[in-house]
């Protein structure tokens, strides 16, 4: 594996682990999700650039557009959580706990 491939694969795994082992804030989990999207953008852009497959360069643009959709939905959820629970702490989201 070349170092650049190792880098964006490791970035993806780090973002995934940061999202899995979330701690206090919902917003920092969303930022780990953004790291995932960022690593995918880097991966697809480097695919287009390194392999000279020019038409794949549209994939990072569309990925960015749909990741903006997802980020805005996540931020709307953070705003909703801050509205009902007063903060975005993850331990307050315990309505389904027995």
């Amino acid at each position: 594996m070349t170092p650049i491939q190792m880098t964006f694969s490791t970035m993806f795994l780090l973002g995934l682990m940061g999202l899995t082992f979330h701690r206090t804030h919902l917003l920092s989990a969303l930022l780990c999700l953004e790291t995932l999207m960022l690593s995918l953008f880097l991966a697809t852009s480097l695919w287009a650039l390194q392999l000279s497959t020019i038409n794949i360069a549209c994939v990072p643009m569309l990925l960015l557009a749909f990741s903006a959709c997802e980020a805005s939905s996540g931020l709307a959820l953070v705003v909703a959580t801050a509205g009902t629970h007063g903060s975005d702490h993850m331990q307050n989201l315990n309505l389904l706990q027995c």
Binding site: T24, S28, L31, L38, I56, A57, P60, A65, F66, A76
Partner: protein, 173 residues
Amino acid sequence: MSYLVCVLLFGLMVGSVGVASNPSPYFAAMGLVMVSGVGCGVLICFGGSFLPLVFFLIYLGGMMVEFAFSAALSAEPYPYGWGNRSVKMYVAAYVLGVGCAWKVLLGKWSGFWGGILDESGELLVLRGDMMGVAAMHDVGGWILVLGGLGLLLTLFVVLELVRGVSRGGLRTV
């Protein structure tokens, strides 16, 4: 030039570890800013011109600014930085994991890895990735329409999620 790529890849790793260790969102957004800036540099080193610009403008200037504004929702008097003990443990674990993975998987690599693949030897204005995005506007017009409709749908989704009173996503406010 390959040393510059090495330094930028290291910067990517440092920023990702900084975000993944889940400090307070103020600091995690800072890590993501660093990752976007360095990622833009990586793409430039590999010959892109339009895609790094999109990365910097749209991602950093658009989405990160939203996250920076929303970080005010997670305000606390003593935010956890990377010097905090619990965050430092996560940082140490991730650095150890990344170091072990790199040592094991990249133990021996052969060949010229940091080489900048550039198919022409001169400076060009219209580079490959710009032509790819132009192709998206040309023959891929329908996917742009689909993307625009998806974004419009997301706008309505967001508006419904934060609407209070009785019929929105927030029932108690």
